[in-house]
């Protein structure tokens, strides 16, 4: 196999990787934030809120990510247009980002929920006993402890998300994989560029997993 064309293509590939990472970081931040709210909803004593949160999680865990991405790219702008009466360009990046945030929030929510539930009930009791409000109990006592415990799991899920970002291929967003594919097509070496993409994903995910494992061991002590 002739890999000679890869070196000159690297700057272009890096642009794709930059987009992938941008998408990843924003989606993780957004997903964890939304996921935390949903987890709090699921654990709430408000029945309506709890079942709405549960429905959200079940809904997004039931449908393929590819379908969600297509929804947000092709259909949601249409809905916005009905609401505002104007063409509402969302753009591929934003619509994919929103799709990932909404989708991953369902998965992050389950991790956060388990994290919160793993904190002994006595902690909340003690915090209420010294006069804290619900918000203070969560913000100052429960969530800091829970997040420490679940950081490895959240990171693990983020590595999965890193790989899942490649699905934006379906809507033609020029992420790392799509850039590699498209460059490979133009240059006439699709196989080489595909293997390169696979290798890059492998090395980065593998290294990240190893780091998470070490972090997990350190947190376990």
């Amino acid at each position: 196999m002739d890999f000679s064309q890869i070196l000159p293509a690297l700057p272009g590939l890096w642009q794709g990787m930059a987009l992938t990472l941008q998408l990843l970081i924003l989606a993780v931040l957004g997903g964890v934030a939304l996921g935390t709210l949903i987890a709090l909803g699921r654990l709430s004593h408000h029945r309506l809120l709890a079942s709405a949160a549960k429905l959200y999680v079940n809904y997004f865990r039931s449908i393929p990510l590819l379908l969600v991405i297509s929804w947000f790219y092709l259909v949601v702008p249409l809905v916005l247009q009905w609401l505002t009466g104007n063409p509402s360009p969302v753009g591929p990046f934003t619509s994919c980002l929103v799709a990932f945030v909404m989708f991953e929030a369902a998965y992050f929510a389950e991790i956060v929920r388990a994290g919160i539930q793993s904190i002994p009930k006595g902690q909340a009791g003690a915090a209420y006993a010294i006069g804290m409000s619900y918000g203070q109990v969560m913000r100052l006592v429960i969530l800091p402890q829970a997040f420490r415990k679940m950081t490895p799991l959240l990171l693990q899920q983020s590595i999965i998300l890193f790989q899942d970002t490649s699905l934006v291929y379906a809507v033609g967003l020029m992420d790392f994989l799509n850039t590699a594919r498209s460059k490979g097509d133009i240059i006439g070496q699709p196989d080489q560029f595909l293997l390169l993409a696979g290798a890059v994903y492998f090395v980065s995910s593998f290294a990240a997993s190893a780091l998470v494992k070490r972090l997990q061991q350190r947190l376990a002590i």
């Binding site: 249409l78 104007n86 063409p87 033609g172």
Partner: protein
């Protein structure tokens, strides 16, 4: 990713006299462009030489330049010298929904103007005329559509060729196995790797793809053209003001003769990425279209 660049300030103030004077009177796409300060042009990734990506992942091509001519016209008419041009990659399958849902404002690529699509979007006056034929290895023995009985054939999802092929398969009971690949590049890869005996799509696209193959001389375009495909630029339906700007821009290209230079650049000269020449002289149908621009659907030509 959308890249943007600013058009050079066009100092043709005279145009602003005849153009729409204030944003308040604008409607539809023009209003949106005025408000957002940007126009979003769609492009394809391997519709060679109409709209595709060069080595730097920048859109180029015959239709792409037409789209930019439109953008320039818009910037003059709206008196927006710093109009931002955004780009958005589309596939054959996503281009119509993306026009409809407002993600892109104009798609000049290799989109056939037909009755079916006119129910969903509007088209500019035609920019190219071609027909669906088949691309195959010279040694494959395939000469015409009849030879495709029980064969593996590939086409691109979302194209008029796909519908034509599927309908032909059902009507004539040809027992073809049809692969619908995501875009032309992938279709051609299927053909090159030997998984399909023929690639069915517009002949000009076939000629364009041949320029990126490892060995262009082993391919042949053959078969009786199955349809007349006249390409147009797609825009949102029922937006006469914008359509007029688009049509005027294209008609200007025709009237001024600039179209001949543009045609020669993409069809009669070496083109990126490999520097091969398609040698695809202008057909009499296209000449007729340029002489008498129309936005009628393919069926009525």
């Amino acid at each position: 990713m959308s890249k943007s660049f600013k058009l050079l300030p066009a100092a043709v103030l005279a145009f602003s006299m005849i153009s729409v004077s204030s944003a308040a009177e604008l409607t539809g796409t023009l209003k949106k462009i005025k408000e957002t300060g940007a126009i979003v042009l769609a492009h394809r990734d391997a519709a060679i030489p109409f709209s595709y990506l060069d080595n730097d992942q920048k859109p180029i091509g015959y239709s792409w330049e037409i789209a930019n001519a439109v953008a320039e016209r818009v910037s003059k008419e709206l008196n927006m010298p710093s109009l931002v041009v955004r780009t958005n990659l589309v596939t054959a399958q996503t281009r119509i929904p993306l026009i409809q849902n407002g993600t892109v404002d104009l798609e000049c690529g290799s989109t056939t103007n037909n009755v079916e699509r006119q129910r969903q979007v509007d088209f500019s006056v035609g920019i190219f005329v071609t027909g669906t034929r088949l691309l195959t290895k010279k040694t494959s023995g395939v000469k015409d559509f009849a030879d495709l009985k029980s064969k593996n054939v590939v086409t691109t999802a979302g194209t008029t060729a796909e519908r034509l092929l599927k309908a032909m398969n059902a009507d004539k009971q040809m027992d073809m196995n049809i692969i619908s690949a995501k875009d032309h590049g992938e279709s051609f890869q299927m053909l090159q790797s030997g998984r399909a005996s023929a690639f069915i799509v517009d002949d000009v696209i076939e000629a364009g793809l041949m320029t990126i193959s490892k060995n262009p001389s082993e391919w042949a375009i053959t078969g009786k053209p199955q349809s007349v495909e006249n390409y147009g630029c797609m825009l949102r339906k029922d937006d006469p003001a914008f359509k007029k700007v688009v049509d005027d821009a294209i008609k200007d290209l025709y009237k001024s003769g600039a179209i001949n230079k543009l045609y020669a650049k993409w069809f009669l000269h070496p083109i990126p990425p490999k520097g091969l020449n398609m040698n695809f002289p202008m057909s009499k149908e296209l000449k007729a279209l340029i002489a008498k621009p129309t936005d009628k659907p393919a069926e009525s030509l």
